[in-house]
């Protein structure tokens, strides 16, 4: 935990949806969202948009942590996100963790997975490209 950067991982949207930091797994924050009406899709299953929001927040989180470690101050502009839905999300707590596949000067490529009981059985995954705008 010594290497845990003191950074804001959550956007106002993420906090509003109920996303929070569960723990650090190496250099990646593991984010979670508890079940609530706000993340419900059809009765009994999570909404894909809410799962996408959790995935995206985990992506920005790992990127912000990496930039903080290297002393870079930067803003993010989303380029795109592609989400795959593998399983229905049940009415329980969900987690997400991202991996930086490539971190460049101007862009980053991130791979993210979300799960509930078993990280090896993801409910959804995403690939994200993010534009990095260094502060002047």
């Amino acid at each position: 935990m010594a290497d845990t950067p003191d950074i804001a991982l959550l956007t106002p949207y993420a906090r509003s949806l109920g996303i929070s930091l569960d723990r650090w797994d190496g250099e990646a924050p593991v984010l979670r969202v508890d079940f609530s009406e706000a993340v419900l899709g059809r009765p009994g299953a999570l909404h894909g948009g809410a799962i996408s929001g959790l995935l995206e927040t985990a992506g920005y989180g790992v990127l912000r942590a990496a930039l903080a470690r290297s002393g870079r101050e930067a803003g993010f502009v989303p380029i795109n996100i592609t989400v795959q839905f593998m399983r229905a999300g049940n009415e329980k707590r969900s987690f997400a963790r991202a991996r930086i596949v490539k971190l460049g000067r101007r862009t980053a490529n991130l791979s993210v997975e979300a799960w509930q009981d078993d990280p090896l059985k993801p409910i959804a995954s995403a690939v994200m490209n993010v534009m990095i705008r260094d502060a002047d």
Binding site: A8, T11, P12, Y13, A14, S16, L17, E37, A38, V39, L40, G41, R42, P43, A45, L46, H47, G48, G49, A50, I51, S52, G53, E56, T57, G75, V77, P78, I79, N80, I81, T82, V83, Q84, F85, M86, R87, A88, G89
Partner: protein
Amino acid sequence: MSDTQTAFDLAAAAPFLASRAHNGWLGLRFSDHGEDWVEMELPWRDDLLGEEGRDVLASGPIVSLLDMAGGLSIWARMGKFRAIATLDLRVDYTRPARERASVFGRVQCYRTTRSAAFVRGIAHDGDPDDPVAHMQAVFMTVDKRTVDLPRETSGETARG
């Protein structure tokens, strides 16, 4: 589970479907529709920001908006209500939305097969000719006896 073949009155059903759960939390509103497309509105709200101190909606709610409009466009094209689940969804963010602007999601279902539905659309903040995002997605129809499949986009019990 209700009858999956029920004739579907989109303009009547959309406000109900948008009023509950995640869509209700976002405050999604029915805007317009055609034979194979639907437009929904994500009204501006200051607790959905993507960045502290900058009055622009986060990208997450825009994914939800486009997912919802995509699901509805499938029912519009089919003219009936079937349980569906998003399989794959891609969003390209072509420019930031204007500050304090509502965002509209307009999605067309351009092809359905026995078990898949293909949609594409845009998000805009007032001018459909100047989109803030483009989306493409594939949905699957869900056999009601099958439980371990991707989530359905919305309730199949359209009561109330």
